[in-house]
């Protein structure tokens, strides 16, 4: 393998040569401004959905703002738009300075910026319209997924070219974290995006059931790791010592916690699938690697906080340091809580409850948000060459945001633990104490109100910052000329003389970014291969070996409606082998049951009850009434009403193509099934409709989407109940 090309090219003069250049700060400003814009959007949508859970009427009976469609918009906007733009702003600013060079290509930077914004706009339009793959944080449909891949590659190419053109011999720890981010996000995104299209805006993942679940949570967990953790640690390592004017506490700690973090994180995904039908060895790996992750995570917090030792008195007066200290503390809390939640017996109580929501928001509001705010308050005056408009307002921002985060997390902890315990409560006579799920919902509604207040405070505090920043930029001088910087060009180092790069092995590695990147890639591939491959080779996990009847065309169509409406954000389809749970929902789920599920729909949150064995539990008429007005059959329900399913017509002509795509994914449909798909679906719909009509439902029901949805709901768990699965 060739080393850094700039170092080995022949035509370089041997004497160091001083070069003048300037940094591209325009791109940083652009990303920064979009951070502010998307931050406001993401938080606003967050508050809206919080209010929707407190009071269902805020769904307004409108499809595009119903909870199931808005929640994915909130998560995607918060992660990829708000945090994403912030990361890019910070990376572009710090990388150029740490490498003493301008980004390799302004054009690529521009494509990255505009491409990313276009992707966000596309997401903001398609998610409310119901175009979704139905996998958390990976909801965006195929065309957008492809665009993300292209833009990420553009970013990566630009970044690695910049690394090669650097004028700093060694790469600083922040850059290590950026490299890990760029490589791993690419890997995660590509592997979790392999879908087969049915139409332009509809596709099915190639994986099904347990395999899809494993890939998804390998992705989902590491999106947290490599989108919300590693880049932020990189930002922390640059902006915190800068803002404090103090040296980083320990280089050694940086090395140990970087490599252990990157290596261990990738294994932890299965802790989202404890007690599921994922093979137990994989669950156990997920748990124990999560436990081992505690120290590497805390390494970053310790290094950050100890950097500030000696500057504690300044924390009182400098809002930037306040945000850093609180942010790192929230990071420490979240990364202690994470390993705890990964322990099987704790997961048994906490999984599917609001405890997880508390955990996530401790991380996002407390760590990501506060770090972004610290960075913005530091960067804006630097970039616009002025002073912050109001330090006092920044303090108010801090305390309001802090209070908001506290109210949010404490209310959700309480809700989660309360509900988790209610679900499990069994009285001495051997009965569930709260057999009606709705009792456990009504109990926590007041906490949903409280949470909305916390979110509202945080949003309000964000607008204080917005105002502060707008005022700051408005008073900035209008000079345009960029600063000229100068630095020596690097002289090449011969392969035979690597000791010139340093005396410790890791120091030498820091002088070889290409080698560094390859090692990082290897570090994340090890865990990936060891966990994913065996589950993929296991024959029992695949459709071809199954004799079960696949979904009928109408059921499949109903399933797509289920995915479109985001029912999976409130309902799980995975009954765990826990006694109180099987008493409530029936026998625990089996792997075979989701063998045809492209994508799997196990869910991660039970705002409503589990639906894995719903089929046959209620008559069709019950569902007909429930979906139209959940409160009519379950007083106190917070589930949205779905009146549009009673207006919109089933597109029967779309069904054959769906079966065809499923067949090519290995689902055993016969040629007959394909040939008669439309006719079969029509007669199936008629059967259900006739039953309903005989019970007094209007005769127009037959072509309505609700029929397809009912067909799907009534199929759930039927194979097991019929004894087709042991």
């Amino acid at each position: 393998m060739s080393l850094e090309s700039s170092e080995s090219s022949k035509d370089q003069p041997l004497k160091p040569q001083l070069e003048n250049f300037s940094y591209d700060d325009a791109i940083v400003k652009k990303f920064l401004i979009m951070t502010l814009v998307w931050g406001a959007v993401a938080l606003l949508v967050g508050v809206v959905i919080a209010v929707q859970l407190a009071d269902w009427r805020f769904n307004f009976g409108l499809p595009w703002i119903t909870f199931g469609r808005l929640r994915p918009l909130h998560t995607n906007a918060a992660i990829f738009a708000f945090a994403g733009n912030a990361i890019f702003a910070g990376i572009y600013y710090s990388t150029q300075r740490l490498l003493k060079t301008r980004m390799a290509s302004d054009l690529l930077s521009q494509i990255h910026f505009w491409g990313w914004q276009a992707i966000i706009v596309a997401a903001a339009l398609t998610l409310p319209l119901g175009y979704t793959v139905g996998k958390e944080y990976a909801e965006l449909e195929l065309p957008i997924k492809l665009a993300i891949t292209v833009v990420w590659v553009v970013f990566a190419v630009n970044y690695f070219k910049t690394l090669l053109q650097r004028r700093e011999r060694h790469i600083y720890v922040a850059i290590w974290f950026y490299i890990a981010t760029i490589i791993t996000v690419a890997l995660l995104h590509v592997i979790n995006s392999i879908n087969l299209p049915v139409s332009f805006w509809k596709s099915y993942p190639v994986y099904a059931g347990v395999q899809d679940a494993l890939v998804q949570w390998w992705y989902g967990h590491n999106a947290v790791a490599f989108f919300l953790t590693t880049p932020f640690l990189g930002l922390m390592y640059y902006f915190l010592p800068k803002a404090a004017g103090l040296p980083v506490y320990s280089y050694r700690l940086s090395i140990v916690h970087f490599w252990s973090l990157v290596f261990i994180y990738i294994w932890a995904g299965p802790h989202h699938l404890l007690y599921s039908t994922l093979p137990e060895w994989a669950q156990t790996l997920g748990m124990i690697f999560s436990v081992m992750l505690w120290a590497p995570s805390w390494g970053g917090m310790v290094n950050g906080l100890l950097t500030l030792r000696g500057a504690w008195h300044r924390v009182r007066t400098e809002p930037i340091l306040k945000f850093f200290v609180a942010g790192l503390t929230f990071y420490g809390m979240a990364t202690f809580e994470g390993p705890l939640l990964s322990v099987k017996s704790v997961s048994a109580i906490a999984h599917y409850t609001d405890w997880i929501i508390a955990h996530v928001h401790g991380g996002t509001l407390g760590w990501n948000g506060f770090l972004i705010f610290a960075m913005i308050y530091w960067l804006v005056p630097k970039l616009w060459k002025t002073e912050l408009y109001s330090v006092k307002l920044a303090h108010v921002h801090f305390w309001t945001a802090f209070l908001g985060t506290l109210i949010y997390t404490v209310s959700m902890w309480t809700a989660g633990i309360t509900q988790g315990l209610m679900w499990r409560a069994v009285d001495p006579s051997g009965h569930l104490v709260y057999p009606d799920f709705i009792e456990t919902v009504i109990k926590i509604i007041p906490l949903y109100f409280l949470r909305a207040i916390g979110g509202f405070l945080y949003l309000g505090s964000f607008f204080l910052m917005l105002y502060n920043i707008v005022k700051t930029i408005a008073k900035a001088p209008k000079t345009k000329a960029p600063d000229v910087v100068s630095a020596y060009r690097l002289t090449p180092v011969a392969l035979s003389n690597l000791s010139q790069l340093g005396d410790r092995p890791h120091r030498i590695l820091e002088g070889l970014p290409a080698v560094f990147s390859v090692l990082t890639l290897i570090a994340v591939i090890v865990g990936t291969v060891i966990e994913l491959i065996p589950v993929f080779l296991g024959n029992q996990h695949v459709a071809a070996s199954s004799s079960l009847k696949p979904y009928t065309g109408l059921e499949l169509h109903g399933r797509d409606i289920y995915v479109r409406e985001g029912c999976y954000v409130c309902h799980s389809q995975m009954i765990r082998p826990i006694l109180s749970e099987t008493m409530r929902y029936g026998e625990y789920s089996r792997e075979q049951e989701s063998i045809y599920d492209h994508p799997f729909q196990w869910g991660s949150k039970r705002i409503g009850p589990d639906l894995a064995r719903l089929g046959g539990k209620y008559p069709d008429l019950w569902h007909y009434r429930h979906m139209l007005d959940p409160r009519e059959v379950t007083p106190g329900s917070l589930m949205p009403a779905y009146p549009w399913l009673y207006r919109d017509k089933t597109d029967f002509r779309a069904i054959p193509k769906k079966l065809k795509v499923m067949k090519s994914l290995g689902v055993p449909y016969t040629e007959m099934d394909l040939a008669q798909a439309e006719a079969d679906a029509l007669s199936h719909a008629k059967k259900i409709a006739d039953r309903l009509i005989s019970q007094g439902v209007p005769a127009t029901v037959q072509n309505q989407e609700i029929i397809a949805l009912i067909a799907y709901l009534q199929r759930l768990g039927e194979d097991f109940k019929k004894g087709l699965i042991q």
């Binding site: 740490l98 320990s250 140990v256 137990e280 156990t284 100890l306 082998p577 539990k617 008429l621």
Partner: protein, 205 residues
């Protein structure tokens, strides 16, 4: 760490410590004005890390390589114990007889209790006055599963899951079920408005 130990150290040790802290406080590298110090790893941190690794290995070897019980095994054990305990209880409280159930009809408080349960659990399907809806009319003399109180008791306990009638035996306590059955029987001949058409067979009393 005990800071008073420091006093007892002889000069040589003191020097060593000073050297160490000096070395740790030296800036190793600088990037864009950011210095890097070389403090050693905090002992509690690295030892905590080792402990977690040891725990992880132990857990792995016990549960995956060794004979630690799997989640399913543990579940099965818990379930067997539960079923055994339930079976014991059932034996000691055999279902009430027709006479015993009929006697309940004379207890207004029991009918009242049954009404409460009916209103929270059953009206969705059987209507507010038992006139029927998704489920059959419970006030007429037509019964799908028989009109004796023991028969009604059996339906309520075991349900008709394939028709959408839940087995309440797993949800309500036996005594609550007696009350709701008594209440249903007390509805006979009340003729609420908008009754559902008769289902099942006419039962004469």
């Amino acid at each position: 760490m005990g800071s008073n130990d420091h006093k007892n150290l002889d000069n040589e040790d003191k020097q060593k410590i000073d050297q160490k802290t000096n070395k740790e406080n030296q800036v190793l590298h600088t990037y864009d004005g950011i210095g890097e110090l070389d403090h050693s790893l905090p002992a509690w941190w690295i030892n905590g890390f080792y402990l977690n690794i040891i725990f992880a290995l132990g857990y792995f070897f016990y549960y995956i390589m060794g004979d630690g019980p799997s989640l399913l095994k543990e579940y099965q054990k818990e379930k067997n114990e539960y079923e055994y305990a339930q079976a014991l209880k059932k034996d000691s409280s055999k279902g009430a007889s027709e006479e015993e159930l009929r006697a309940f009809l004379k207890e207004p408080s029991r009918i009242q209790a049954g009404l409460q349960i009916f209103q929270t659990r059953c009206v969705v399907c059987h209507g507010a006055q038992g006139q029927g809806g998704i489920g059959p009319n419970l006030t007429d003399d037509y019964w799908i599963h028989g009109g004796k109180m023991t028969e009604i008791l059996a339906v309520v306990v075991n349900g008709v899951p394939e028709k959408g009638m839940a087995p309440w035996g797993g949800i309500l306590k036996l005594d609550e079920i007696y009350s709701v059955v008594t209440f249903i029987k007390s509805l006979r001949g009340t003729h609420p408005p908008n009754p559902k058409e008769p289902q099942g067979l006419l039962v004469k009393e």
